[in-house]
């Protein structure tokens, strides 16, 4: 019998849902806490990671490095290292989306505070600044004028994170007070929700309100193309409805959270994910 391994570092509802569906489908499910795992490069061995693994760590870098270890051990992993590394960095992801012809907001990259300030003056406000690494809307800020830009640059100037000298500025999209999250499994859209918020950020982690969204033909096709552009797997494709250009993809998430949407979705999302994983299991 094929075995699926769910790698986590904080056991959440999603991981328990996946475990339950794996058991329901008759597969042995190994729950692996990444914080306790050990891998030996000499023996090319580690803990038992089954025949296929779903990497579900909440810490991006832990998950990314764990994914590399699984691939080193020849365990098929979802998502692949190449996918996780692109999706985990907004600059990498935006560049990939643009190069693949996916409609995405206008975005500007600079590598010093001075260049970022000059760039902002040149392209004009309002803009949004985003840290290239990070999630749940953390550090995403609207910039409406030079004063706000100066304040943000001053803060960035005194912090010393490895990505603090990399500046990612994006146009502010004129949209309804919501965005759209489409969950894709193997390049197929399986569910979508609106994330509504009266404020600037729509992240559910920041109290954005979820509402079921019917997947239109355009939405489904765009989600599939975005998934293919980053390398496929199990993903959360985020879109905004621009007043003049229609749907724009602004983000593709690598370890998508789905507990909210799973309660109202027509399809059994965790079951789809397990079925997809088992199709990739080593024989």
């Amino acid at each position: 019998m094929s075995r699926v391994c769910i790698v986590f570092d904080r056991l959440r509802t999603e991981e328990k849902m996946l475990q339950k569906e794996a058991a329901g489908l008759g597969y042995e499910c190994i729950m692996c806490d990444a914080k306790t795992a050990q891998i030996d490069t000499e023996k090319k061995a580690g803990d038992d990671f089954g025949d296929v693994a779903l990497e579900r760590c909440v810490s991006y870098f832990r998950g990314l490095h764990f994914t590399m270890c699984l691939e080193f051990l020849d365990v098929p992993v979802i998502n692949e290292f190449a996918v996780a590394s692109v999706c985990g960095d907004k600059m990498f992801m935006t560049a990939r989306l643009k190069k693949s012809g996916i409609p995405t907001p206008k975005t500007y990259f600079t590598f010093s505070g001075q260049a970022a300030a000059e760039n902002a003056k040149k392209v004009g406000y309002p803009l949004v600044i985003k840290p290239v690494i990070g999630s749940w809307g953390r550090g995403v800020m609207p910039i409406r004028d030079d004063d706000a830009m100066d304040g943000i640059l001053e803060i960035r100037g005194v912090t010393d994170g490895p990505h603090d000298r990399i500046y990612y500025l994006q146009e502010m999209i004129k949209r309804p007070p919501r965005d759209i999250r489409v969950i894709t499994v193997g390049d197929q859209p399986v569910a979508a929700m609106y994330r509504k918020s009266a404020g600037f950020k729509t992240n559910l982690a920041l109290d954005g309100q979820p509402e079921l969204c019917k997947i239109t033909g355009e939405m489904g096709e765009l989600a599939a193309r975005a998934s293919q552009a980053v390398g496929g797997g199990i993903l959360g494709v985020d879109m905004m409805e621009d007043e003049s250009r229609g749907l724009l993809v602004h983000e593709v998430n690598n370890t998508v959270e789905f507990k909210g949407i799973a309660k109202v979705a027509e399809q059994n999302i965790p079951k789809k994910m397990i079925e997809f994983a088992m199709n990739l299991a080593r024989k």
């Binding site: 729950m31 810490s59 690598n254």
Partner: protein
């Protein structure tokens, strides 16, 4: 079981498993279930939210 931080009573569901996070209703501290064998539960301090946490 009581909170290791403030001694308030912790409600640990019977179906909770290793790796799950238990939050103290009084002080708000987060603990991770390190071991669970029936009603015997061992807790450890949960990791604080990291800058790279998310989706």
């Amino acid at each position: 079981m009581n909170c290791p931080e403030c001694d308030a009573g912790l409600d640990i569901p019977a179906d909770a498993t290793t790796g799950e996070i238990i939050a103290c209703p009084d002080c708000g501290a987060d603990f991770e279930i390190a071991k669970k064998d029936g009603s015997n539960v061992e807790l450890k301090q949960a990791e604080s939210v990291g800058e790279d946490w998310g989706e």
